[in-house]
């Protein structure tokens, strides 16, 4: 969609879609976005006016910088269809941005690190109680290991049975893509189709 003739005409129209990547601080959201984005994840520090000083570094995982607001990546799926991935801010003081990030999204992937599962409680809580977006939970397997069984994770997060729970390795593009596919499939299932006899639940 980079080249075209002027003036602009309707055949050059594109559609953009959005998936939100949520989860607590340091669970791997930026890594996940970066693993599939065709551009370097854009850190929004430069474009949000929110001050970034005094953010909470986590000495225990050696992370000295943080995503101040959010970052995003882009995947051109078809010439006329572009998917954006937006990571949510990890820090609670940026909650006010979540509604803006989530508005218009097809759904959200909540990323969980089982070593610090409590970091993702607020994100799960947000999508269960404060948002209508379809969401799935993906346990990020650092080093390819799953520290706890998925049943235990579901229980710890008090996830309803209707929320898909999966695993992924956020560093691996294929694994990330699978998690995104799972979300889109979930949204599809929740999409009501209208047949000749009225609403049909998707299959």
């Amino acid at each position: 969609m980079d080249s075209r003739n002027y003036p602009f005409d309707a055949s050059s129209l594109a559609i953009s879609a959005k998936i939100v990547i949520a989860g607590g601080f340091g669970v791997g959201k930026t890594t996940l976005v970066g693993s599939v984005s065709e551009v370097e994840p854009v850190n929004t520090e430069a474009w949000m006016t929110v001050a970034g000083e005094g953010v909470d570094p986590r000495p225990d995982i050696g992370k000295t910088t943080t995503t101040v607001a959010m970052d995003f990546g882009r995947i051109t799926l078809h010439p006329d269809l572009v998917l954006y991935l937006f990571g949510t801010p990890g820090q609670p003081r940026f909650w006010f941005l979540w509604d803006d990030i989530c508005r218009g999204a097809l759904g959200a992937v909540v990323l969980v690190d089982t070593q610090r599962i409590q970091e993702s409680f607020p994100a799960v809580n947000y999508f269960e109680n404060d948002s209508d977006l379809p969401f799935i939970v993906a346990v990020n397997m650092f080093d390819g290991k799953l520290a706890y069984g998925l049943d235990e994770v579901r229980e710890a997060l008090t996830l309803g049975p209707d929320v898909p729970l999966t695993t992924c390795d956020a560093r691996e593009p294929e694994s990330t893509s699978k998690a995104l596919q799972e979300l889109v499939s979930h949204t599809l299932k929740l999409t009501v189709s209208y047949g000749p006899d009225g609403p049909l639940k998707g299959s």
């Binding site: 602009f8 050059s12 995947i75 799926l77 269809l81 572009v82 937006f86 596919q181 889109v184």
Partner: protein, 118 residues
């Protein structure tokens, strides 16, 4: 809105409104923008910020990317883009949300993800 019929027939109404029916531009982070013309004269007549936006929009680009590349806060970008759209200098593309993420769009997204070269 009364002068809609006078606009170039090459651009359909839904292209100009991004499929929206509300008068106010509702610009999501992922909403794509394109310049309608690549017009140097127009470009030089604009204020610097609008000019930078207009020139970046020669390639289809999202609100979030415009904000990031120009380091202008999102709220300001939204207002400036609304201004450019009101002057019919940029087209606001529809989003998946415009179509309530109907099955066709979701299936195309799923299909595209499956075909990613990963």
């Amino acid at each position: 809105m009364a002068n809609m019929a006078m606009r170039s027939k090459r651009i359909r109404l839904y292209a100009l409104t991004g499929g929206r029916t509300r008068p106010r531009h509702h610009l999501l982070l992922e909403t794509l923008i394109s310049a309608v013309h690549d017009d140097h004269q127009v470009s030089t007549s604009l204020m610097p910020e609008l000019r930078a936006l207009y020139e970046l929009a020669r390639q289809t680009i999202s609100i979030a990317e415009l904000s990031a590349q120009l380091t202008i806060p999102l709220g300001v970008i939204r207002v400036l883009i609304s201004d450019l759209a009101a002057q019919e200098l940029v087209v606001i593309h529809p989003t998946g949300f415009t179509y309530q993420y109907d099955r066709i769009i979701l299936e195309r997204i799923l299909d595209g993800l499956k075909k990613l070269p990963v």
